[in-house]
């Protein structure tokens, strides 16, 4: 069997999985591949690529999960990728997911594939919902009309998976692709056959064009629709006069996208009339539950979304808070002591003791906490996405987010960042477009997290006293300006997300019960993907920080960071920072919780650790609050303190946030761009505040 398939295919079997969003594509992907998944980017594109493997009858199949798109019209990178891949000749077969309960709309995608020579199977999903709605599909009839296997599925209950696998082995052997003659016939014969001469002309003229594996009629129709990619390909492969002839011919007939779309639906309606029996053809008002109506309500929709996001955040905290507090409050200090003791007993050098106990250990614990937190956020918001609620959130926040060039769902990372930036960045996962997701991530970093306020209130109490509310108001106003500028800078120049942005045309999927199995699986695979990257990045940054700040004597003056800080002090003083404030600013990119400990050490008040990274072990640093306060008050001017608070406020949140950006944005380059941008802008803002403040204070 195996050799038979291999000889038929002559190459490893690659299955491409395609279809519109909300057709259960990812459930099928998870069902087929299980944990054998890989997440990356499509080469040269800002689009997430998911692939996986499964074995059936001793043969290994690679599954490529193509981006979910409503059509293949080459308007977005997702559409281009899906189409290029399908015609590339690389996949051995294609599975097109169709939602049986929304047949007309989801068959549109198939109408764009009809004519490609790739062996195809149709996964007719959500058969249970269709039956409930009184839609009876004659699958045999549909198979006959389309000329390819149609597999009935309820992917959320893993029904139809084995049939799909079996059908795939068959279709790869028989190489059957979607019968498109009926569709082309409609294009030719509709509207008194107005397009017939043009299509026949194009069919002969385009016979020599090489774009991929398809029937020439497909190319002719795409050319008639003036598909951008197809026109570019034709232009590139033809001489100028030849191309001009084609364009002249196209200009002889009316060009209207809507006409062509309605031809496709004509084909679909024909298919349905011959294979589907709908119990009641009476017009019925769409029935929406009270919650559905509330979720899109003009006045109550937004407060409801705020509450749901807050609830989601709190639930994720409830899941991991107990473990987090035991980990960092009890286990870490004990293991910390144990590590020091153990290493001392075997006579390890002091630097080794320090690096193990102060850099590697707390960073590993931080990574563990991060993974736990990310997992619970993904789980909770995965449920909200799965049941269909988040599309409603996007709906009610569309207007507000649109002003920043962002998708309505961006409200989720924004709100969650007010609790924890790492949670916010993870929350951006609900935005499908990777470019839009990156933009939401980078803007969400402006939001101050809860841990920030400890330092802000400490410094404010020393320097600003009764003026603290004024300072906070100033920071709030700066936050809004910062968000707008950052959205513009990244949206326009760095990510280019604004080009892809379009007004809202979005499906609100019907509410349904959560598919627990699929959600849990998805969360688990994600966690596995996150774990390794999180450990490497967090331990890595921590090690760098350790190398910079380690001193065997415990005096900061013996560390590298001291010499660096001292050397650039003349420059940093221009921004109002002496070497200690500058160093504290840099180190605060590591974590906000540890910052008070770092400041205490810098002002000669903290002890007990040999490096800044050691401050991550909460109980390891000891300092007296009063001594620390007076040391700061005596050597820092109010203008400098104001500059420091500003720069600190807008600095990169923490190492865990950096690691999360890497994971959710899927790019190291983008991660460093964001980090560099934030650190630079924070310093500049601090500098401006300092310069202005010195005029008055």
């Amino acid at each position: 069997m195996m050799s038979e398939i291999a000889s038929v295919m002559g190459k490893p079997a690659i299955v491409a999985l395609a279809g519109q969003p909300n057709t259960g594509k990812s459930t099928v992907f998870n069902g087929l591949t299980g944990a054998r998944q890989h997440v990356g980017n499509w080469p040269g594109k800002t689009v997430e690529q998911k692939s996986g493997r499964y074995v059936y009858l001793d043969q290994t199949y690679t599954v490529m999960d193509l981006p979910g798109t409503y059509s293949l019209s080459a308007n977005s990178p997702e559409e281009v990728i899906a189409r290029d891949y399908m015609v590339s000749g690389e996949p051995s077969a294609l599975v097109v997911m169709i939602d049986a309960s929304q047949l007309e709309r989801s068959l549109y995608f198939l109408s764009e594939i009809a004519g490609l020579s790739i062996p195809t199977i149709i996964g007719l999903n959500m058969m249970d919902v269709a039956k409930e709605k009184g839609i009876h599909i004659n699958v045999k009839a549909l198979e006959k009309l389309l000329g390819v296997p149609v597999v009935e599925m309820v992917a959320s209950k893993a029904i139809g998976m084995d049939t799909l696998k079996e059908a795939l082995t068959q279709v790869i052997k028989k190489k059957t692709s979607v019968a498109a003659e009926g569709l082309f016939e409609i294009f030719k014969m509709s509207d008194r056959a107005i397009y017939k001469p043009t299509l026949e002309f194009l069919k002969t003229e385009l016979a020599a064009i090489r774009y991929g594996d398809y029937a020439v009629e497909w190319l002719a129709v795409k050319c008639l629709e003036r598909d951008r990619l197809v026109m570019e390909t034709i232009k590139a492969q033809m001489s100028d006069p030849q191309y001009k002839v084609i364009v002249a011919q196209l200009e002889k007939v009316p060009y209207d996208k809507m006409t062509f779309a309605s031809y496709r639906f004509k084909w679909i309606e024909k298919l349905i009339s011959k294979s589907v029996n709908i119990a009641s053809k009476e017009k019925k008002l769409l029935k929406r539950s009270w919650f559905d109506r509330l979720s899109t309500h003009r006045y109550l929709g937004q407060p409801l979304a705020f509450m749901m996001i807050l609830l989601g955040f709190m639930l994720s905290m409830v899941i991991c808070m107990p473990i987090m507090s035991v980990l960092s409050g009890q286990i870490l200090p004990k293991v910390y002591q144990g590590t020091i003791q153990g290493l001392q007993n075997i006579g390890a050098p002091i630097w080794l003791i320090s690096i193990m106990s102060e850099a590697v250990l707390p960073a590993a614990v931080m990574a563990l906490i991060m993974i736990l937190f990310v997992t619970s956020v993904l789980l909770i918001f995965g449920v909200m996405e799965d049941v269909g609620y988040l599309a409603r959130v996007a709906f009610v926040f569309d207007r507000a987010m649109c002003k920043l060039g962002l998708h309505g769902k961006a409200i989720i990372p924004f709100m969650m960042s007010l609790g924890c930036n790492m949670a916010g960045i993870t929350g951006s996962r609900v935005i499908d477009s990777l470019k839009q997701r990156r933009l939401a991530i980078v803007v969400s970093l402006v939001m101050p997290c809860l841990a920030m306020w400890g330092v802000i209130s400490f410094v404010s109490a020393i320097f600003f006293g009764a003026y603290t509310p004024v300072v906070l108001l100033g920071l709030f106003l700066l936050t809004i300006v910062h968000m707008k500028i950052t959205a513009k800078v990244f949206g326009k120049w760095i990510i280019g997300a604004t080009e892809d942005f379009q007004g809202l045309v979005m499906e609100l999927p019907p509410f349904h019960k959560p598919n627990w199995k699929s959600i849990l699986k998805n969360t688990w695979y994600n966690t596995k993907n996150v774990a390794q990257k999180a450990f490497l990045l967090i331990v890595g940054i921590s090690m760098v920080m350790w190398i910079l700040s380690f001193s065997s004597t415990g005096h900061i003056e013996d560390s590298i960071i001291y010499s660096v800080g001292k050397t650039i002090e003349p420059i940093s003083m221009f921004f109002g920072f002496d070497w200690r404030l500058f160093t504290a600013f840099i180190v605060s990119a590591m974590g906000k919780e540890a910052s008070l400990g770092v400041l205490a050490m810098l002002f000669g008040q903290g002890g007990g650790v040999m490096s800044f990274t050691g401050t991550m072990v909460g109980s390891a640093v000891t300092y007296s609050q009063a001594g620390f306060q007076s040391a700061m008050a005596n050597s820092v001017s109010t203008a400098s303190a104001l500059a420091f608070v500003t720069a600190f406020f807008f600095n990169v949140p923490c190492m865990a946030a950096i690691a999360t950006i890497r994971i959710e944005a899927g790019s190291m380059k983008f991660t460093w761009q964001a980090v560099a941008y934030y650190m630079t802008v924070a310093l500049l803002m601090g500098g401006i505040v300092y310069r202005v403040a010195t005029l008055f204070l």
């Binding site: 059509s71 549109y108 569309d398 499906e507």
Partner: protein, 76 residues
């Protein structure tokens, strides 16, 4: 008699007469099933919010600005 889609009252049915707008919008609307002669139901139409229409078994949210390019004819 045809009117702008945005002027169709809630719970009323309409038939799409024509759709105009950017190429991108037309592609997207077409793929969602909003084509001439499609019957739609206005589900929600409130100022300062996108509108919600039900067409081809699908609940679709549409930007207010772009839905002004859609002309419909009221259907009983």
């Amino acid at each position: 008699m045809s009117t702008l889609l945005t002027e169709l009252n809630e719970k009323r049915y309409g038939k799409i007469i024509s759709i105009e707008g950017s190429q991108r919008f037309l592609d997207r609307a077409g793929a969602m099933g909003l084509t001439p002669n499609t019957e739609i139901q206005m589900v929600q139409n409130k100022k300062r919010q996108p509108i919600l229409v039900y067409a081809r078994d699908t609940l679709i949210a549409l930007n207010r600005k772009e839905s002004k390019g859609i002309m419909v004819k009221g259907v009983e």
